[in-house]
Symmetry: C2
Subunit: 246 residues, 2 copies
């Protein structure tokens, strides 16, 4: 049965999609059968993993499609996710739609990664309620730090109102720049408050990570020896040891 | 009567809040009576302009508070915006709530800037339906470019379904790094497709712009002579010449 990982943070541009596609690629290289579910109307993960696939989202019946990577499939965001969001927001059990839709896929995969949009509306809530674990990418900047307590408060609220089972896998600091004081301050702050949950290595700011998507590529095929690739390899090792301890 | 400017882009982390607070600060320096409305549950603009203000959002009755800058007031995001979002999403005319709430403030200001969250749900829709103009900050990266057509398609849809009157003020390229090829590619792409709407000068990547918020400061007080400050001064001149041609 697949372990389901939600990658979420309502702060925008912190590296959610970059983390999903690159952790997925390294996990697939390591032999995990991986499924990425693009739950973000922007469809950024889909444009990396399955750029030419049209059609609906998972809520509209989309099935996994293969990608350029063996062991890695993707359910695309499709063209209906914005409309679906409004319907889900108004329907009685709209927050659990994703959880029931993933049941059919769990036997065929080892790891399911869900990319979320930057908010706390019904789509990310679906991901949180469907997942076993939560990974929080956190940009090493001031605003991102501010948003962390709001995200954790929202998760705690769901534990009470929606019997959320999710465990925090960890916090992955992203876009770390050793020349910027703030980067070190954020890393130190997270290390102090979440010593048992911080990833051992931050992801450095690396232009190859930003360039790979324009070639519809993950870092493992675009620039597998760059600093960003090394950091995502280490992050994937850390993550799998936490959530797939087999 | 105040001109209302929505600063929006559903792509996360592209510099919406940084643009709102710094354009507001320069416009206030130039003598415009400026109001910033924080319409984003993250409350990042509020933490820069009115860090110690508690209470509700504009939808909960919040009034303008003064800031460290003369001529610049702020209506904070408050602590109820997440809940309000759900209520607005389900109520009949929830998309026009902000427009009617701003009527009372327009006589007292020259310029109202609305910061929006990174999505296309009911909160940004409120901003679009309340505004006279739209300013789109666009990070000079691949994913941000992808999202632009989705945003413009959504605006066009609102013209038909909601009689939207909004005009596009322009596109402001942000976090421009002359050493990165992608930055130049994005700038060239926008210049080609939107020659009449692109800001004359991109905002450079500048660590002072990212550091200022941790001191609850805009760039005009934190580091007024840095490259980022110069670029936001020029962007404000360009913008005011478009939307306040008096
Ligand atoms: N470590 C990194 N170094 C350099 N650029 C990066 C890095 N991680 C992500 N980026 C770039 O930064 C931008 C934001 O990253 P990304 O889109 O993955 O964030 P996100 O959290 O998924 O955004 P959104 O909130 O819009 O979904 C993208 O253009 C991406 O290519
Ligand atoms: N020109 C710049 N140079 C360097 N850093 C910048 C620049 N503009 C913004 N930043 C930083 O990049 C991050 C994203 O910017 P900002 O928060 O303003 O974007 P946003 O679009 O408002 O994000 P969100 O989608 O979450 O609302 C912030 O940490 C900010 O301080
Ligand atoms: Mg994303
Ligand atoms: Mg913002």
């Amino acid at each position: 049965m697949a372990t389901i990982l939600a990658v979420a943070n309502q702060k925008g541009g912190v590296g959610k999609t970059t983390t999903v596609v690159n952790v997925a690629a390294f996990a697939a290289l390591a032999g995990q059968r991986v499924l990425v579910v693009d739950n973000d109307p922007q469809g950024n993960a889909s444009s990396v993993l399955a750029p030419d696939v049209e059609g609906p989202s998972i809520y509209g019946g989309a099935k996994p499609v293969s990608t350029a990577h063996s062991n890695l499939s993707c359910i695309v965001a499709g063209n209906d996710l914005l409309d679906r969001e409004q319907v889900l927001a108004q329907s009685h059990d709209g927050r659990r739609a994703l959880s029931s839709l993933l049941v059919q896929h769990q036997p065929h995969f080892d790891l399911i990664l869900i990319d979320s949009p930057p908010n706390l509306t019904v789509l990310p809530t679906n991901a949180l309620l469907a997942a076993d674990y939560l990974l929080i990418p956190l940009q090493s900047e001031y605003f991102a730090l501010e948003g962390l307590s709001q995200l954790l408060a929202y998760v705690d609220q769901l534990r009470i109102t929606a019997q959320l089972q999710l465990r925090l896998a960890g916090i992955l600091v992203t876009m770390f720049d050793p020349d910027i004081i703030m980067s070190h301050q954020v890393l130190a702050e997270i290390g102090k408050h979440f010593p048992n949950h911080i990833a051992p290595v931050p992801i450095p700011r690396d232009t190859s990570l930003a360039a790979a998507p324009s070639h519809s590529a993950t870092i493992t095929t675009y620039d597998p020896l760059c600093a960003g690739a090394l950091a995502y390899l280490e992050a994937t090792r850390w993550l799998l040891s936490l959530i797939k301890p087999s």
